[in-house]
Symmetry: C2
Subunit: 494 residues, 2 copies
């Protein structure tokens, strides 16, 4: 533990859990970032104090405003700067004079726009260092922290609170992932858009997330690494404790957006990343969808002891393509142990498929589904289970169509009773699956093609079940989990 | 044109557009297939006549029922059989006596369950042939046809009507795709679960879809091919006219669901499929998501003249990963022509990226977005465009939170006015994009991370825009479209 890291960590404490925040460039105008971000902070009920800084307005969005940070009568943990690039240097001087140690610069037009911007960035870096300030950004889209309800980002939203911590070298990708998180019922603990990383770098945030016991998985969107060996060392350390899911942008054109053609050098670079990331135990994903899927599922699922997958399904075709997907990901779909087949013989009709996948087609009984899943989970040849069609649903919305009652004589009260029965059935499967995972310490990833009802959706979110709409997404999550588990086993056996 | 095909086609006309349907095994009990399917047919208001057949009930679900098909006083185009396997042979005899030429057998427990079932299947095949009956199935999950509103399937639903025709060797996968179609606002013209294909095979349906001018793209879920050369010949013929998207199940274990390990023979088989499918111009997809994405987009988008993609985005990171995805799919993201850059220089601020992707970050003006898209579309180096962030939305649901009004002083009327403005802006981008595609005959695939509002969603569905929630899905669609266009060009240049 270096003294330098202790200071950085203290500064990151101020970034992610500030007791007070100065918004330099705050304004009443919502079409300006200084107005929009402040409105975001206030509407999301940040738990600390907020001090708007504006040289002319005595009040901004109903809050007492100050001409300069130096006029603020209390201590300030975090200053956020949103004023034009040419003004930033002087404002950081002010922060230094005020004794602020952590400054987040949202303002852009620094090194990302060319030589002049690069000079401005060097200047603010020098000033920050002189004052012992840790600089976040510049060109950052902001920060989110669940513990203090801080939504200090350039997009009006209320991210879900949860267990994923996320550092992104692209603000837009970061914000979009927070939004997808809401759709996937997946919450974040921390998010930081690291911007140009003039001072604090991706590996600093990564190390911080590694030490944070409330963070259960880490997402990293990377375009370029400042200090490759350092990054890999930190990453390796963190990956021993929790899953680190990495999405590398600029794989084919090495961060040069416009470059179109492959070159040997670039391809080499890509291979280099892939291999060193793998050695460091990082989970590298290839799509934005896999990025968040893996982060959310790996945070929750028990680590499997091997790569052998059991599949339970309610349709032959689905079993076939799930098996294909497992094998394509390098997983094994093994034969079932003889006593597993015997146990299933006692539950299933004589024509059942007698193999893995177990196909329960046309057996709607939910207790049989759970019983078969338990038998499969107990098979010593099986390290994890993909459960398709666990949550069946009658087409009650269809049954509510007027023609249905005319054609069938089934009234709305009956339909509602079925709906309630099914709600209960789904809950009992949900808790059955969670119980099996807890007892047997093997992961189960579930698949449900339909949109869950709002009520069941709420329950899924609360319980954090790994549920995906397609088998391919479920298999991908299982594959990356098994890959991560291999890394952890290798490490623990050393 | 063989006489045999003319008969098959006539039978498929009766399957997909029957004027009358006999449901053999109809019952009032909704927990039996004969009740459930009939309720489905009636509730979905099938446009033809329905004759329930039941040996004991004079009325089924409010319809006059008949003891046998031979008692029905009118002509019957299509008979659907749902009674137990051992009864089917005799009932098909009845159909023959009645002069019915098309019989769909939903009943299972035929060749798929072993030697006894195989014998039963041979028997019903013999009887059908003797009477000149075309047999659909057995072990079929049913048929959907938009033209006569026929939903004769084992799942209560109302599929969306549209332009895709779909033959599936897995009923469950078929039904799930119809359900996903609803979520994706994608409609089907025909769907048939081909079952065991004792008589009518996948290539018969495929040929029929090829001849149907209302069908704009074809989906085929395949596990095994009966008559490989024949299938490929038909497929090649259809693929010259319209896109045929194929998903092959049992790729890694050759239809043997339980088989777990790869073998040289299986791998060879897979390579063989891949190559012959490609030569026949089939679009082979690897996931269920790609299956429906490609079918819906390829039905509508203009065929590009080459493989060069222009990207327009509102965020650098998104441009980077979209470029990566293009290159990973073998597409080219070329430099822009000099006059394109000059034209964009006149519209964009001096710091714009001057390359492909065109990054409009922080320029919210929608007219500039459309103008830039038009300039990009007119670039002679560009064959198709991926448009990210075309449909921006203010976070109006966020603005409706109580804290927002307190913090900002912005009232609900203002928020509503913004919402309406934006609704109009999105519509003008939507029609602008459709207009550009029509005028310039190049495809545009759009990306929007947020869920569309219900109103905009309705419009998207009506206009059939290719819109995806992730750039990777958009790029995959573009890649398969460009692959298909290559096939068509090769063919047209012969």
């Amino acid at each position: 533990m270096t003294a330098s890291w202790e200071k950085t960590r203290a500064s990151l404490d101020q970034l992610f859990a500030p007791k007070s925040l100065a918004m330099i460039g705050a304004t009443n105008k919502l079409n300006k970032w200084g107005g929009m971000i402040l409105a975001n902070v206030l509407t999301n009920r940040f738990k600390g104090k907020v001090f708007p800084v504006n040289p002319t307005s005595p009040e901004v969005l109903g809050q007492r405003a100050y001409r300069s940070v130096t006029d603020i009568p209390e201590e300030v943990d975090l200053a956020v700067v949103v004023t034009p690039a040419v003004t930033v240097a002087e404002l950081i001087e002010d922060c230094g004079r005020k004794g602020i140690r952590t400054v987040l610069v949202v303002t852009s037009d620094f090194s990302e726009t060319g030589p002049e911007g690069r000079e401005r960035e060097e200047e603010i870096k020098r000033i920050a260092h002189r004052h012992g300030i840790h600089l976040i950004g510049p060109n950052s889209m902001g920060v989110f922290s669940s513990s203090v309800s801080l939504v200090c980002i350039m997009a009006m939203m209320e991210p879900l609170k949860g267990e994923i911590s996320f550092v992104s070298q692209s603000g837009n990708i970061g914000v979009q992932m927070l939004a997808w998180g809401k759709r996937l019922k997946t919450g974040f603990r921390h998010f930081i858009s690291s911007g140009n990383e003039a001072d604090v770098t991706t590996q600093d945030y990564l190390r911080y997330f590694g030490e944070d016991r409330h963070c259960r998985s880490v997402m990293v969107y990377l375009e370029s690494i400042k200090g490759r060996a350092d990054f890999l060392e930190v990453a390796r350390e963190v990956a021993r404790k929790k899953p680190v899911v990495v999405f590398k942008g600029g794989k084919t054109a090495s961060g040069l957006r416009a470059a179109a053609s492959h070159s040997g050098a670039l391809a080499g670079k890509r291979g280099m990343y892939d291999a060193s990331f793998r050695q460091a135990g990082l989970i590298q994903v290839a799509t934005t969808e896999a990025f968040i899927d893996c982060a959310r599922s790996l945070a929750r699922l028990p680590l499997p002891k091997g790569d052998r997958v059991g599949i339970i399904t309610r349709g032959g075709g689905w079993g076939v393509i799930t098996t294909d997907a497992c094998e394509e990901h390098g997983l094994v779909v093994p034969q079932l142990a003889p006593h597993t087949i015997e146990a299933l013989d006692r539950l299933l009709p004589p024509y059942w498929s007698r193999g893995n996948p177990i196909d329960l087609v046309a057996i709607p009984n939910i207790h049989i589904y759970l019983d078969c899943t338990e038998i499969l989970m107990k098979d010593p040849n099986i390290d994890g289970v993909i459960a398709l069609g666990a949550f069946t649903e009658r087409a009650t919305s269809f049954m509510r169509r007027p023609g249905f009652q005319e054609a069938t004589g089934i009234d709305q009260a009956t339909v509602q009773a079925w709906e309630e029965q099914e709600g209960q059935a789904k809950e009992s499967v949900l808790y059955g699956i969670l119980g099996l995972m807890k007892d047997l310490k093997k992961p189960i990833v579930t698949v449900m093609g339909r949109e869950p009802t709002p009520r069941f959706d709420t329950l899924l979110r609360k319980e954090g079940l790994s549920l995906y709409p397609t088998p391919e997404r479920a298999v991908r999550v299982m594959a990356r989990l098994m890959e991560y588990a291999r890394y952890r086993r290798r490490w623990e056996n050393k």
